[in-house]
Each structure stands twice: as structure tokens, then as C-alpha cells.
Symmetry: C2
Subunit: 204 residues, 2 copies
């Protein structure tokens, strides 16, 4: 991935759109001199991305104090079948953010960030579910990453075969779209029978 018909798009709205369309990011940290790439949820407010975790999570604590970080969100949009195996590719959108993770210490910002993270994963949940207690907030580490240094790459469209391969016409070529979908809600077994699925879950 990364060689054909790509362009780095600096457009801020496009960056926000790619970030907002994802559910999981991959966070890259350095631990003991080696990169560690972990999946995690996230949220965005303006030009700041937030992630969170337990205050007991060693990898998060270690990533504070000025360690550089990379946060990447990728959407696979299609498998690109070409006339040559060499020209096979993927259609995708990805956002790559570089920066320093900062711990959020202001209580108002922490609460706003957690709301953004929860609402990103499950829109409507913040007002529907029980709010966090002081003890829960104290156990939650919230980290912020500025979008100052970020790039977007997008590949779209059909395969880019050589003219000779197109003329030869020996293989099928095209795109098999890939997308992420939601299934039917599965109620928790501890939920009373007949509890209706709320609109913010059902409509998704």
C-alpha cells in the first residue's frame, strides 16, 4: 500500500472526516527502544485527539513525559484486482498523526474528552448511561494529541495496469468494495426480557 495514485492531502476537513469515520485507531509508542502498536478507541474535539486507559496501564504512563507518538486511523475501502499481480492494490483512507501525548489534568477537559471518546464509539451513550463517578474518573487516564502534524492518504478508483496488460486482456480487473457494517443489537443477558433497544443503538 502506498505506491500508486496516492496524494498527501493537507486539507483539515478531510483529516477530520477520516478520523471521525473510524472506531479504532492504532497508537504507536516506543517502549524499551522498540515500537509498540496498540489498538484503542479515541475521540476528537476540534484539533485534538483523545485516547484513554486505566491509570494502571504501564504503556500509557510510560508514553507521557514527552515521548513521541504516532496515531493512525485506516479505512479499507476496496480490494483492487489488476491484470498483473504487481498492480494489485487497496483502496483506502488513512490519517497519520505525529506528536507528543499530554496527560489531561483539567477536570473539565477530562470529562469533555471522555464524553468525546464515548460518543465517538457509541453516539448517544453519554446521556443514556450512568455518568462516571469521581472514583471512576480518578482511575481513568486521558491523553491528548494535537493534530498539528498530521497527514491523510487516500487511494480510490480502478487498478492502474500497464497499457500492454490492458491490451492483453487476459485477467479480470476491478474493485471489490469493502465496508464495515453493524449487525443486529444483542441485548445483555442480564437485561430484563422485553427491554426495548433504544433509538441511538437501533438506528445505527
Amino acid at each position: 500500500m502506498g505506491r500508486h495514485r496516492e496524494r498527501a492531502r493537507a486539507d483539515r476537513a478531510e483529516l477530520h472526516a477520516v478520523l471521525d469515520a473510524g472506531l479504532v485507531c492504532h497508537l504507536g509508542l516506543i517502549r524499551d527502544g522498540a515500537p509498540v502498536v496498540l489498538p484503542t478507541g479515541y475521540g476528537r474535539i476540534g484539533d485534538t485527539v483523545y485516547v484513554h486507559g486505566s491509570t494502571g496501564a504501564r504503556y500509557l504512563r510510560e508514553s507521557l513525559g514527552g515521548t513521541p507518538t504516532c496515531l493512525t486511523v485506516t479505512h479499507l475501502d476496496g480490494v483492487v484486482y489488476a491484470r498483473s499481480v504487481f498492480a494489485h492494490s487497496m483502496n483506502y483512507r488513512s490519517a497519520v498523526v505525529h506528536g507528543i501525548l499530554h496527560a489531561v489534568t483539567d477536570p473539565d477537559e477530562q470529562l469533555a474528552a471522555l464524553r468525546a471518546i464515548v460518543e465517538h464509539l457509541s453516539p448517544g451513550s453519554w446521556d443514556h448511561a450512568r455518568p462516571p463517578t469521581g472514583r471512576e474518573l480518578a482511575a481513568t487516564l486521558v491523553l491528548a494529541l494535537d493534530l498539528d502534524e498530521a497527514s491523510v492518504k487516500i487511494r480510490t478508483g480502478p487498478p492502474l495496469d500497464d497499457d500492454a496488460d490492458v491490451a492483453a486482456g487476459r485477467a479480470w480487473a476491478g474493485v471489490l468494495p469493502v465496508r464495515t457494517v453493524f449487525g443486529d443489537p444483542q441485548p445483555c443477558p442480564r437485561l430484563p426480557a422485553g427491554t426495548p433497544v433504544p433509538e441511538h443503538v437501533r438506528a445505527r
Copy 2:
């Protein structure tokens, strides 16, 4: 992600299964002292994962020569709605592989690795499409990563709410399944009209 009902599963078959079920991995490298996380395709043969790129790709060339790497594959399986915002979570499977990237220099291994990468992305394409030429192979850098140091994390099941929240019964709780699906094949505009979609694409 990462706090609740997780267990590190050392089982090799499970590791293979998580890797094989993915299409995109996130590759973590260190460049100029900072982590870089990039999405890319991959393939697996036994206990080796292969990635590839252009020999002109600086990030791949720089990752050779003993630099530690992390390769992560994540499947999001569900959004976990809980009675409290704090217990919201995701169901997922992830494989995290640590190691050193080695350039593949043996021509037979290079060809086998490229076949594995192409067949992973698009099963059936290697025999259907035109094979790589010597020039194309020379322009392709193939990198190998051993699965010696790898872990799998899996979260499944309903939310883990406190008993008090379950008893309060104020919010819906359950799992909204998430899955990746393929759409209808979109033929390349340069394909002659009426070209049938081959079985290996149609059946997917």
C-alpha cells in the same frame, strides 16, 4: 480497550487465525527517534509474516538493519454498550508481533512471499493475473518478520457492569456486532463490456 475480560492467548493456532482473518496490518517503525505507524498489506507462511513495498520507499529501507518493529492486526467485532459510560468497551481480536524486519534476498522466498501477500489480499489472483516480471521483482522489497514474539488479545461477550448498575436498570446494555463485508465487484472501466466476473472474485 485493554482493561476488561482480556487474556493473552499464547496459542499459535489462534495467532495464525487472527492474522489470517485480516487484510490490513499496522506496521510500527522508528524513524528519527519517533514511532511511525503505517497501514499495509501482508501475508503469512508458517511462522513468518511478510510485507512488501517499493525499493524506493524510504521507510522500508530504513527499517532494515536490525531496527525493531511491531506489526499489529486488529478486528473490531462489536461495540459494547454498558449501563455506565465507564464500562463501555469494544469486542475485538488483535495480534501484536514484535521483532526485527529482515529483507528477503532469496529469489524463491521472495516469490513465495509475494504470492502469500497477493493471495492474502485477493485469493485466486496469483494464478489468474499476469505473474511479476524480473523488473517488477527487482523493484519490490520484501520483508520478513518472525512470529517468535507475538501475542493475541481477545474480548468477547456482554458488558461487565457493576451489580448496582444492573440492579438500577436505567440503561440498555448489550453488544452491537461490527463486521467487514464485501460489496458488489466494480469492473475496471477499461475492461471490455460483458467481461464475466471470475469465480474467485464473485464468490468472495
